[in-house]
Protein backbone atom coordinates (compact mmCIF):
# COMPACT_ATOMS: atom_id res chain seq x y z
CA UNK A 1 0.00 0.00 0.00
CA UNK A 2 1.31 3.45 -0.88
CA UNK A 3 0.76 6.20 1.67
CA UNK A 4 -0.14 9.87 1.54
CA UNK A 5 1.83 11.91 4.05
CA UNK A 6 1.73 15.55 5.16
CA UNK A 7 5.00 17.09 6.43
CA UNK A 8 4.61 20.19 8.62
CA UNK A 9 7.77 22.19 9.32
CA UNK A 10 8.67 25.86 8.95
CA UNK A 11 12.01 24.93 7.37
CA UNK A 12 11.76 24.01 3.66
CA UNK A 13 15.16 22.32 4.03
CA UNK A 14 13.86 20.11 6.82
CA UNK A 15 10.72 19.24 4.84
CA UNK A 16 12.88 18.28 1.89
CA UNK A 17 15.12 16.18 4.14
CA UNK A 18 12.21 14.30 5.75
CA UNK A 19 10.74 13.53 2.36
CA UNK A 20 14.10 12.27 1.07
CA UNK A 21 14.66 10.14 4.17
CA UNK A 22 11.21 8.58 3.82
CA UNK A 23 12.10 7.59 0.28
CA UNK A 24 15.58 6.35 1.30
CA UNK A 25 14.06 4.21 4.06
CA UNK A 26 11.99 2.25 1.57
CA UNK A 27 8.72 3.64 2.87
CA UNK A 28 6.05 3.41 0.20
CA UNK A 29 5.16 7.05 -0.35
CA UNK A 30 2.56 7.87 -2.98
CA UNK A 31 1.94 11.57 -2.35
CA UNK A 32 3.74 13.99 -0.06
CA UNK A 33 2.11 17.29 0.93
CA UNK A 34 3.97 20.05 2.72
CA UNK A 35 2.95 22.88 5.07
CA UNK A 36 4.99 25.59 6.81
CA UNK A 37 2.97 25.64 10.03
CA UNK A 38 -0.18 24.25 11.67
CA UNK A 39 -2.49 26.71 9.93
CA UNK A 40 -1.22 25.73 6.50
CA UNK A 41 -1.52 22.08 7.47
CA UNK A 42 -5.20 22.49 8.34
CA UNK A 43 -5.78 24.19 4.99
CA UNK A 44 -4.21 21.22 3.19
CA UNK A 45 -6.35 18.83 5.22
CA UNK A 46 -9.55 20.61 4.14
CA UNK A 47 -9.01 19.36 0.60
CA UNK A 48 -6.68 16.35 0.88
CA UNK A 49 -6.89 13.17 2.92
CA UNK A 50 -3.59 11.85 4.26
CA UNK A 51 -2.62 8.64 6.03
CA UNK A 52 -0.15 10.29 8.42
CA UNK A 53 1.07 13.71 9.51
CA UNK A 54 4.71 14.35 10.42
CA UNK A 55 4.95 17.61 12.34
CA UNK A 56 7.57 19.82 13.96
CA UNK A 57 6.72 21.52 17.27
CA UNK A 58 8.42 24.93 17.31
CA UNK A 59 7.02 26.85 14.37
CA UNK A 60 6.05 30.49 13.92
CA UNK A 61 2.31 30.91 13.40
CA UNK A 62 0.40 27.86 14.61
CA UNK A 63 2.87 25.57 16.37
CA UNK A 64 2.77 21.78 16.58
CA UNK A 65 1.05 21.63 19.95
CA UNK A 66 -1.85 23.77 18.73
CA UNK A 67 -2.06 21.69 15.56
CA UNK A 68 -2.39 18.53 17.68
CA UNK A 69 -5.15 20.19 19.73
CA UNK A 70 -7.07 21.18 16.58
CA UNK A 71 -6.71 17.70 15.11
CA UNK A 72 -7.93 16.04 18.31
CA UNK A 73 -10.93 18.36 18.45
CA UNK A 74 -12.01 17.51 14.91
CA UNK A 75 -14.21 14.43 14.47
CA UNK A 76 -12.73 13.52 11.10
CA UNK A 77 -9.14 14.67 11.45
CA UNK A 78 -8.54 12.98 14.78
CA UNK A 79 -8.40 9.67 12.92
CA UNK A 80 -5.20 10.71 11.12
CA UNK A 81 -2.14 9.61 13.09
CA UNK A 82 0.14 12.56 13.90
CA UNK A 83 3.83 11.89 14.51
CA UNK A 84 6.02 14.56 16.05
CA UNK A 85 9.55 15.17 14.76
CA UNK A 86 11.48 17.28 17.24
CA UNK A 87 14.90 17.97 18.71
CA UNK A 88 13.26 17.97 22.15
CA UNK A 89 13.65 14.52 23.68
CA UNK A 90 12.70 15.53 27.21
CA UNK A 91 10.19 13.26 28.93
CA UNK A 92 7.95 16.20 29.94
CA UNK A 93 7.56 17.28 26.34
CA UNK A 94 6.93 13.76 25.05
CA UNK A 95 4.33 13.10 27.75
CA UNK A 96 2.54 16.37 27.00
CA UNK A 97 2.45 15.68 23.26
CA UNK A 98 1.10 12.18 23.85
CA UNK A 99 -1.65 13.74 25.96
CA UNK A 100 -2.44 16.12 23.10
CA UNK A 101 -2.87 13.21 20.73
CA UNK A 102 0.55 12.55 19.18
CA UNK A 103 0.68 8.89 18.13
CA UNK A 104 4.44 8.75 17.57
CA UNK A 105 7.58 10.68 18.35
CA UNK A 106 10.85 10.89 16.43
CA UNK A 107 13.77 12.68 17.98
CA UNK A 108 16.26 14.51 15.78
CA UNK A 109 18.86 13.33 14.93
CA UNK A 110 17.44 10.15 13.39
CA UNK A 111 18.39 7.73 10.63
CA UNK A 112 16.04 6.58 7.85
CA UNK A 113 15.37 3.29 9.67
CA UNK A 114 14.12 5.18 12.75
CA UNK A 115 11.61 7.11 10.67
CA UNK A 116 10.39 4.00 8.90
CA UNK A 117 10.06 2.09 12.19
CA UNK A 118 7.88 4.80 13.74
CA UNK A 119 5.74 5.05 10.60
CA UNK A 120 5.28 1.27 10.58
CA UNK A 121 4.34 1.21 14.24
CA UNK A 122 1.98 4.14 13.92
CA UNK A 123 0.27 3.00 10.74
CA UNK A 124 -0.03 -0.48 12.19
CA UNK A 125 1.22 -2.29 9.15
CA UNK A 126 4.42 -4.30 9.54
CA UNK A 127 4.68 -4.64 5.78
CA UNK A 128 4.79 -0.92 5.03
Amino acid sequence: MAYRVLIVDDSPAMRSFVRRVMELSGFDLSVCFEAGDGGEALKVLRSEWVDAILTDINMPGMDGEELLRRLSADELLRAIPAIVISTDATTNRMDRLATLGARGYITKPFVPEDLRAVLERTLGDPNV
Binding site: A13, D88, R93, R96, P109
Partner: protein, 163 residues
Protein backbone atom coordinates in the same frame (compact mmCIF):
# COMPACT_ATOMS: atom_id res chain seq x y z
CA UNK B 1 41.65 18.86 32.44
CA UNK B 2 39.02 16.15 32.49
CA UNK B 3 35.97 16.44 30.27
CA UNK B 4 32.80 17.68 32.00
CA UNK B 5 29.37 16.14 31.33
CA UNK B 6 28.44 19.38 29.56
CA UNK B 7 31.46 19.11 27.21
CA UNK B 8 30.68 15.46 26.60
CA UNK B 9 27.04 16.25 25.76
CA UNK B 10 28.12 18.92 23.26
CA UNK B 11 30.74 16.67 21.67
CA UNK B 12 28.39 13.69 21.38
CA UNK B 13 25.60 15.86 20.00
CA UNK B 14 27.81 17.44 17.31
CA UNK B 15 29.08 14.01 16.26
CA UNK B 16 25.69 12.31 16.24
CA UNK B 17 23.82 15.10 14.45
CA UNK B 18 26.47 15.40 11.72
CA UNK B 19 26.68 11.65 11.18
CA UNK B 20 22.96 10.85 11.24
CA UNK B 21 21.35 13.88 9.63
CA UNK B 22 24.13 15.25 7.45
CA UNK B 23 25.89 12.02 6.49
CA UNK B 24 29.22 13.60 7.43
CA UNK B 25 32.03 11.94 9.41
CA UNK B 26 33.59 14.78 11.39
CA UNK B 27 37.13 14.60 12.78
CA UNK B 28 37.73 16.23 16.13
CA UNK B 29 40.23 19.06 16.21
CA UNK B 30 41.40 21.68 18.76
CA UNK B 31 38.89 24.56 18.99
CA UNK B 32 39.91 27.96 17.63
CA UNK B 33 38.48 31.29 18.71
CA UNK B 34 34.78 31.68 17.84
CA UNK B 35 34.00 34.67 15.67
CA UNK B 36 32.60 35.75 12.33
CA UNK B 37 35.45 36.96 10.09
CA UNK B 38 35.25 36.70 6.31
CA UNK B 39 34.75 33.16 5.09
CA UNK B 40 33.01 32.10 8.29
CA UNK B 41 29.27 31.74 8.75
CA UNK B 42 28.19 32.27 12.35
CA UNK B 43 24.77 31.34 13.73
CA UNK B 44 23.50 32.02 17.21
CA UNK B 45 20.57 30.42 18.97
CA UNK B 46 19.20 31.32 22.40
CA UNK B 47 17.35 28.78 24.55
CA UNK B 48 15.16 29.11 27.62
CA UNK B 49 14.52 26.52 30.28
CA UNK B 50 16.66 24.77 32.83
CA UNK B 51 19.29 25.75 31.83
CA UNK B 52 18.95 28.91 29.70
CA UNK B 53 21.76 30.16 27.52
CA UNK B 54 23.07 30.46 24.00
CA UNK B 55 24.63 28.22 21.34
CA UNK B 56 26.94 29.63 18.67
CA UNK B 57 28.04 27.76 15.56
CA UNK B 58 30.92 29.05 13.45
CA UNK B 59 31.31 27.20 10.15
CA UNK B 60 33.76 27.90 7.35
CA UNK B 61 32.13 28.50 3.97
CA UNK B 62 33.52 25.27 2.56
CA UNK B 63 32.14 23.20 5.44
CA UNK B 64 28.78 25.01 5.31
CA UNK B 65 28.34 24.24 1.61
CA UNK B 66 29.29 20.60 2.11
CA UNK B 67 26.90 20.22 5.04
CA UNK B 68 24.05 21.80 3.07
CA UNK B 69 24.70 19.65 0.01
CA UNK B 70 24.77 16.44 2.07
CA UNK B 71 21.62 17.37 3.99
CA UNK B 72 19.60 18.28 0.91
CA UNK B 73 21.06 15.62 -1.38
CA UNK B 74 21.96 18.31 -3.91
CA UNK B 75 25.11 19.33 -5.72
CA UNK B 76 27.08 22.11 -3.98
CA UNK B 77 27.18 24.17 -7.17
CA UNK B 78 23.38 24.44 -7.25
CA UNK B 79 22.98 25.75 -3.70
CA UNK B 80 22.03 29.37 -3.09
CA UNK B 81 23.55 31.20 -0.10
CA UNK B 82 20.06 31.36 1.44
CA UNK B 83 19.71 27.57 1.28
CA UNK B 84 23.12 27.08 2.88
CA UNK B 85 22.19 29.48 5.68
CA UNK B 86 18.90 27.71 6.25
CA UNK B 87 20.61 24.35 6.61
CA UNK B 88 23.26 25.72 9.00
CA UNK B 89 20.45 27.22 11.11
CA UNK B 90 18.75 23.81 11.15
CA UNK B 91 22.05 22.22 12.22
CA UNK B 92 22.33 24.70 15.12
CA UNK B 93 18.77 23.91 16.14
CA UNK B 94 19.42 20.16 16.17
CA UNK B 95 22.71 20.36 18.06
CA UNK B 96 21.18 22.65 20.69
CA UNK B 97 18.11 20.44 21.19
CA UNK B 98 20.27 17.34 21.37
CA UNK B 99 22.56 18.81 24.05
CA UNK B 100 19.66 20.04 26.17
CA UNK B 101 17.88 16.70 25.91
CA UNK B 102 21.07 14.99 27.12
CA UNK B 103 21.77 17.27 30.08
CA UNK B 104 18.19 17.81 31.25
CA UNK B 105 16.19 14.83 30.13
CA UNK B 106 13.08 15.69 32.14
CA UNK B 107 12.91 19.51 31.93
CA UNK B 108 11.15 21.25 29.05
CA UNK B 109 13.08 23.87 27.09
CA UNK B 110 12.27 26.32 24.32
CA UNK B 111 14.57 27.22 21.44
CA UNK B 112 14.49 30.64 19.79
CA UNK B 113 14.87 30.89 16.02
CA UNK B 114 18.53 30.62 14.97
CA UNK B 115 19.99 33.93 13.78
CA UNK B 116 22.77 34.37 11.23
CA UNK B 117 25.33 36.85 12.56
CA UNK B 118 26.24 39.62 10.15
CA UNK B 119 29.83 40.05 8.98
CA UNK B 120 31.77 41.72 11.77
CA UNK B 121 29.09 41.04 14.38
CA UNK B 122 30.59 39.33 17.39
CA UNK B 123 28.77 36.42 19.03
CA UNK B 124 27.19 37.27 22.39
CA UNK B 125 29.29 35.94 25.22
CA UNK B 126 27.99 35.97 28.73
CA UNK B 127 30.81 36.82 31.11
CA UNK B 128 28.73 35.44 33.95
CA UNK B 129 28.08 32.14 32.20
CA UNK B 130 27.77 29.30 34.66
CA UNK B 131 29.00 26.74 32.13
CA UNK B 132 30.76 27.03 28.81
CA UNK B 133 31.79 24.27 26.42
CA UNK B 134 33.44 24.37 22.99
CA UNK B 135 33.82 21.58 20.45
CA UNK B 136 35.44 21.83 17.02
CA UNK B 137 35.55 19.37 14.15
CA UNK B 138 37.05 19.25 10.68
CA UNK B 139 34.59 18.57 7.85
CA UNK B 140 36.21 17.98 4.49
CA UNK B 141 38.23 21.09 3.76
CA UNK B 142 36.50 23.21 6.40
CA UNK B 143 35.80 23.37 10.11
CA UNK B 144 32.84 23.72 12.44
CA UNK B 145 33.10 25.10 15.97
CA UNK B 146 30.17 24.80 18.38
CA UNK B 147 30.22 26.75 21.62
CA UNK B 148 27.50 26.68 24.21
CA UNK B 149 27.11 28.59 27.42
CA UNK B 150 24.45 28.58 30.08
CA UNK B 151 23.34 30.98 32.79
CA UNK B 152 22.53 28.15 35.18
CA UNK B 153 24.26 24.88 36.06
CA UNK B 154 23.22 22.29 33.50
CA UNK B 155 22.63 19.42 35.88
CA UNK B 156 23.65 18.37 39.37
CA UNK B 157 26.42 16.11 38.06
CA UNK B 158 27.93 18.92 36.01
CA UNK B 159 29.13 20.91 38.98
CA UNK B 160 32.67 21.30 37.69
CA UNK B 161 34.24 24.69 37.20
CA UNK B 162 33.86 26.75 34.03
CA UNK B 163 36.43 25.89 31.39
Amino acid sequence: MSETPFHRALRDSVQEVLEKMFFVEPVEEPPGEAGSPDGIMAVQLAFEGLPSGVLTLCVTSAAARQIAADFLGEDESGLSPAKVEEVVCELANMICGSVLSRVESSATFRLASPRILLAGERPIRREAAARRAVHAVAIGSGTLTASMETRDPVCPQAAESVS
